[in-house]
Symmetry: C2
Subunit: 451 residues, 2 copies
């Protein structure tokens, strides 16, 4: 049927062993989210174009859908593939609000699509994992701490390099700028967001030219933006800059609570920082903001991020504030797989290959397989009754650790033997009782130190 | 951000409790497939249009992708969303053949898209579960029996109404027609495929007018097509029609093996039949064919199907024969959810709501939740420190069965109590030891007899 291959740039596909790693990552994330009471939802892949463009800035990256043979005025006119999971979630909340209980806690792991230029970590189809809490009219601040902690725990459980959560707070920035008397706070935030790309003196110049700051104000903006600590000592450092404003007080208290709440407890490889230059470009954040970076992969920029939005959705009568954070599954995992930092231990679920002595006795091998499966041991029966050496190599090529032999005994019975093909050890075994070591039961994620 | 809702016909979305049912169905299917050694893969959502149109007939249903702001000659020109999982799988096999071991056993659970008119069980976006085995150059027939048995076992484990697997074999039909001396075997298969929609006498007329049959041959075609039995007695019934041909013999032997193999063992609600009118419209089937029907939902037509294709894919040098079967997850599950035959026991993963006495003691409630989660009990902490009666109703509305109370003792310590809000029973409990009954731990699939 298919007659030629067509690799498409920006649409990565995983081989089975790598896919088992991606599935393990998604299962681990889902497990943590559910332990915290977040319900999974799946939204349709398409949204009306006006919903997609409501978010602004990303319009050029949207893929529109068109029927190959359109009916005139078809109802699917004007739909496109979603480019993130936040826009469809906001629409889902509005569409189904009457059937949801608020605060509504959900997680979502799905692909999204952007027609941008592909590069490492940036794909045209990519999978994200989002976790959000949405309220109706109000959403208490403590949910900011909660949802960020959940993502810290979820990512801390993954077999990936060290991650840094870098937090800031929009109220803190805006309050500081307002207390400073900056004439255009929004323009100033846009300029400060360029600190990653431009030297500090250039940013100071832009603050003067584009945001109407005095040189002294510009310097204080830079002083604020260069505060970066792994504890709550940023509060004192900000206070020392001598600016005061009620919104600044609120932002400081919130950021302090988020940093303290996310730092509490033992962590394997996630660290938490206050980094006061983090702004996040998107205009709808109104409080907590976060970006997540992966050690050794700073070139990918952030592998996740999110924050508080006081108006995730609104239907005119009711406003739905939300707080959430997104993790780029494809963006982080695919480069780790490509670099060999992560690998799957084998490309097949089977822990056992049941050998076939000859085609006439295939049923005996099938019976052994059924017996193993009844005790939840994944296995397969050899495709053909080749010489045992060839069947062992068949297992070897698939990384299947055990081969099972069923042989007729001289006395008319049947004897069973199982061979660990790594050690060569072969022992008698009972198909109704034998179980492989736990580590061999399912494909494992193999990790290697990143060089 | 989002400001209006836009329900889209043909793009169904599930509320969280219903989604938990869909997830349970997919997890159960995946579990069976993996126990049989099938590896999961995920293919990209898009394929080049020429790959999509290679299959013929369905061209008008394809959704093309277009960039909202196209670059000239962009590399994503001419791609569309896949309309099944077979075409992308065939392309995946060709593209990655050098990295796969054959026979290659894979399953795939993903959405597909068709721009057809929506109706019950037919959606523009729908999820399918496919399981296939693909060989390189050759694929022994016993894999036909194997893959069909795997789907029988997988569907037998689902909490859905009774299912009927109806098998036939293309070789049997073609051999019978050839032995009969029909001049145009392909045309005759097309006509016989209309037996669902047209009365037998009309089909007989078409066999004469469109397939060049004599009235006697037409009658024998009808006699063959009306054979339908739940065992292997069809072999005798076909033989009694007095037609002979080597291909007929082969088809009879294969169908007998499939029906016998799939009938073996205890089944909960799956039955197996030979139904000699099943042809399946698609031209690429070359042996075993199957359609799956759900009791009480015959109006959906088949909820699954598949078969053997001797040339799933070919790159000119190598041909990849395959055998597989697909189950329509959306097609079957969404109508069952809509009819209340299936439901989720609750819309949230949480088994416990930890009440909050006052905002100052939220940390004590958080600590209880952490302790429960450490023992894998999904829970959430109340969103606000309302009166306990309100917090209990908060749990009730979400179907959370248990509410946990943390209260200061007169002696300065803390006491813990857990209330089953269904029975009203409240007992002292230790957060480091208490566990809910297993059935309450996770949302369950609730089934109701279909009326």
């Amino acid at each position: 049927m298919a007659t030629k291959t067509s690799p498409l740039s920006g649409f990565p596909e995983l081989l089975p062993a790598a896919r088992s790693v991606e599935r393990a990552v998604i299962a681990s994330l889902s497990d943590t989210f559910e332990l915290h009471g977040f319900a999974n939802i799946e939204t349709r892949a398409v949204e009306p174009v006006d919903v997609l463009l409501g978010k602004g800035e990303t319009s050029k990256e949207v893929y529109l859908l068109e029927r190959l043979q359109k009916e005139q005025g078809g109802s699917d006119a004007g739909v496109g593939l979603h480019f993130d999971l936040t826009v469809p979630f906001a629409r889902y909340v509005l569409e189904h609000a009457g059937h949801l209980e608020f605060p509504f806690r959900r997680y979502q792991v799905q692909p999204a699509w952007r027609g941008e230029r592909p590069q490492e970590g940036r794909y045209r189809q990519f999978t994200q994992a989002d976790v959000d809490i949405v309220g109706k009219d109000v959403l208490p601040f403590h949910h900011d701490v909660e949802v960020m902690r959940v993502m810290v725990e979820a990512l801390d459980a993954l077999p990936i390099p060290a991650l840094s959560f870098q937090f800031n707070n929009r109220k803190l920035i805006q309050g500081f700028y307002a207390g400073l008397g900056l004439p255009d706070v929004v323009a100033a935030i846009r300029v400060i967001d360029k600190l990653d790309k431009l030297p500090a003196e250039k940013v100071a110049e832009l603050l003067v030219s584009d945001a109407g700051a005095t040189p002294e104000q510009a310097q204080q903006c830079l002083d604020l933006a260069t505060i970066r600590v792994a504890d709550t000592s940023f509060v004192e450092q900000v206070r020392a800059l001598g600016v005061s404003h009620p919104l600044l007080d609120e932002g400081l208290a919130e950021l302090e609570a988020v940093v303290a709440g996310c730092s509490a407890g033992e962590r394997r490889h996630v660290t938490v920082e206050a980094n006061l230059r983090i702004a996040r470009g998107l205009d709808y954040y109104t409080g907590t903001v976060v970006e997540i970076f992966m050690a050794g992969y700073e070139r990918l920029k952030s592998v996740g991020g999110g924050g508080r939005y006081d108006a995730l959705a609104s239907d005119g009568r009711t406003t739905y504030p939300g707080v959430g954070v997104s993790f780029g599954v494809s963006r982080s995992i695919i480069p780790l797989l490509a670099d060999g930092v992560l690998a799957g231990s084998r490309p097949v679920p089977s822990a056992v290959l049941v050998a076939v002595t000859d085609e006439d006795s295939r049923a005996a091998s099938d019976a052994v397989a059924a017996s193993l499966r009844a005790r939840r041991v994944p296995c397969e029966v050899a495709a053909s009754a080749q010489k045992f050496g060839k069947q062992i190599r068949y297992a070897e090529r698939r990384g299947i650790p055990f081969v099972w032999f069923v042989q007729d005994d001289p006395d008319g019975g049947v004897s069973h033997q199982v061979k660990d093909i790594r050690s060569g050890e072969q022992v008698a075994a009972d198909p109704a009782a034998w179980t492989p070591p736990t580590d061999d039961l399912r494909p494992q994620v193999v990790t290697k130190e990143h060089q």
